[in-house]
């Protein structure tokens, strides 16, 4: 008798558990269909934040610390860059000058990549950061050809589109992006564009600033001080140079693609940032939105 009862209750528990499980699974999959902007609760943080960056090219010494910091922070594979420093030589001998143009995603106000993404994998947070939802992205590469700044690339191991996130995982913990913290000349200045007291707002209001390709009408939010358009447009008609820089970088460095992949897996075991590498993490952990 008791055995029967036990069986009965066991069955009950089983069916209840199964229905519960099915329900949670169902709701989970439903959440997956929502655009990522609705999924995360961090987005509702504050409507008075609009992140932006000012890059003072006079202060850039071309040390590439920002590139290395970005690669370490976000675990970017060999041959791909979320930010890089374009190295340009200006003038002819004996009037020669070296210039550097650090470039990164402009987190445009009207991002064409967002508009052209067929599955709404690219989205913009209320604070202006343009992100890719890696679970929605199908890798059609249309955003990569849409971006007028060539800032997107196919992540070779995650196999989705990838781009600069302004180190959103650090921002949400109250830290600055890795490239800004690593900049030794204080060339990269980061902050809230809507806060009139921030350094970025002050610079944009008081100095002659430029953006890259304003004619594309994407309203970029990375501003440049002392930008030289001749350097930006350098070498565009030199086909030999284009062919040279189209070559695969790992191959150029004598690293096969397989070795690169092995290195990548040994280093982290998975793609993307999962930890904030900063000694001030503990101190800043609770100070959200104070950049």
């Amino acid at each position: 008798m008791s055995q029967k009862n036990d069986e009965h209750s066991r069955r009950e528990i089983l069916t209840k558990g199964l229905t519960l499980g099915a329900l949670t699974l169902g709701s989970l999959s439903f959440v997956q269909f929502l655009p990522a902007s609705l999924q995360s609760n961090e987005t509702q943080k504050s409507k008075k934040v609009r992140y932006g960056m000012v890059i003072d090219l006079k202060k850039c010494i071309g040390c590439n610390a920002c590139v290395i910091a970005c690669k370490q922070e976000n675990n970017i594979p060999i041959g791909n860059y979320r930010t890089w420093v374009k190295d340009v030589e200006r003038g002819n001998y004996p009037q020669v000058k070296r210039g550097f143009i650090p470039v990164l995603c402009n987190h445009c106000e009207d991002p064409i990549c967002n508009r052209n993404c067929p599955v709404k994998a690219t989205y913009q947070r209320p604070d202006g950061i343009v992100l890719v939802d890696y679970d929605r992205c199908i890798g059609c590469k249309y955003c990569m050809v849409s971006c007028p700044y060539n800032m997107r690339f196919p992540h070779p191991y995650r196999r989705t589109a990838d781009k600069c996130t302004f180190c959103v995982h650090r921002l949400d913990r109250g830290l600055k992006p890795a490239c800004v913290d690593a900049c030794i000349g204080k060339s990269r200045i980061f902050g809230n564009l809507l806060d009139p007291a921030s350094e970025v707002s002050r610079l944009i209001a008081s100095q002659p600033v430029h953006v890259l390709k304003p004619e594309q009408n994407t309203k970029p939010q990375v501003y440049f001080l002392n930008l030289d358009y001749i350097m930006v447009e350098a070498n565009k008609t030199d086909f030999k140079y284009m062919e040279y820089y189209r070559r695969n970088v790992p191959a150029e460095m004598g690293i096969t693609e397989k070795q690169a992949e092995e290195n990548h897996t040994v280093l982290k075991g998975k793609c993307g940032a999962d930890r904030v590498y900063d000694s001030t993490l503990k101190a800043n952990a609770n100070r959200v939105g104070t950049v």
Binding site: V88, R136, I138, Y142, C147, P148, F153, N235, Y245, R246
Partner: protein, 308 residues
């Protein structure tokens, strides 16, 4: 000329969309054009095109069922292609395409079914429905390129028109090839003749003249495009250099313009030659190769110039 500035180091930029996408554009073009040629007979009632139109009605769904496979294969994550079906973004042309590529082949198959059943009113209905769909299914591919606004070669309002007219060129050429092959090698095959009636000599000649007209329009559109590239923004003139003098000049000037359009156009106008099946077939093959070169050059040369 002394350059004012030279790049010492820049990040490498890949060409993200290449052969697969070009094949896809080529095949949708053939499908849309075949469908439109078949409606000449079955919707607009030009009786002499009926035999050729039947071939077109068969080619249209076949080409369109193959072509999305290249798109899916080109995805970084082919298993996620279903995301396109339930994650809709009305602002993205790729998203429009995922629905057009579903509806259009279904419509094509229904149209073909009623042609087989010889149900006149139904053929007409699905024919009328299919014409805007055929234009949309190939026109939207022009918008895919035109709306990628960073790339100077693509970002022109001419792009959808250029795509549609070169589609008509390639579709007519393929139809001529198939019709000539059928009339030469399968003339007495009873099984095939039961569904596909004989394509008359005069109709194939007329298709040849139609091809010449389409080539003329295509040449005009290509000419306007290149002229506008030379005379407008700096990005445009760089891209004009890439296709006219740079690494793609052979493919563009020789394959697309020279062998693909100018030579067939001249030959098709010569009175004696344009009635020979051999000449017509050879010219049609040249035209097809030229249109393939056009698709490839448009897709790849556009991404050749680094944007940053």
């Amino acid at each position: 000329m002394n350059e004012l500035a030279r790049v010492i180091w820049n990040a490498p930029h890949d060409i993200y969309l290449a052969t697969n996408i070009a094949i896809y554009f080529f095949l949708t073009g053939i499908s849309a054009a075949s469908f439109i040629i078949s409606t000449l007979a079955y919707v607009f009632g030009i009786e002499r095109f009926k035999a050729a139109g039947k071939i077109g009605a068969v080619v249209a769904p076949i080409a369109l069922i193959i072509s999305p496979l290249f798109l899916v294969y080109d995805l970084l994550q082919p298993s996620r292609f279903l995301h396109l079906m339930y994650m809709f973004n009305y602002r993205s042309p790729v998203s429009w395409g995922s629905f057009l590529l579903t509806i259009y082949p279904i419509n094509c198959l229904i149209y073909l079914f009623y042609i087989w059943k010889e149900n006149r009113p139904r053929i007409k209905f699905y024919g009328y429905l299919g014409i805007p769909l055929a234009i949309a299914v190939h026109g939207y591919t022009g918008f895919i390129l035109a709306l990628a606004k960073g790339i100077a070669l693509w970002n022109t309002p001419l792009m959808p028109i250029y795509f549609l007219i070169s589609a008509m060129v390639s579709g007519t050429a393929l139809l001529i090839i198939i019709a000539v092959l059928k009339e030469t090698f399968l003339e007495n095959n009873a099984a095939i003749n039961r569904f596909f009636p004989k394509v008359e000599k005069e109709v194939i000649w007329e298709l040849g003249r139609l091809l010449a007209v389409f080539i003329a329009v295509d040449l005009f559109v290509a000419f306007s495009d290149v002229v506008m590239l030379y005379y407008t923004t700096p990005e445009n003139s760089i891209v004009a250099k890439v296709i006219m003098e740079g690494p793609f000049s052979n493919m563009f000037l020789m394959m697309e313009i020279g062998l693909g359009m100018v030579l067939p156009f001249i030959v098709l106008l010569i009175p004696g030659l344009n009635k020979s099946y051999t000449v017509l077939t050879v010219m049609s093959v040249l035209v097809l190769v030229g249109i393939w070169a056009m698709r490839y050059v448009t897709v790849v040369a556009g991404q050749y110039v680094p944007l940053m």
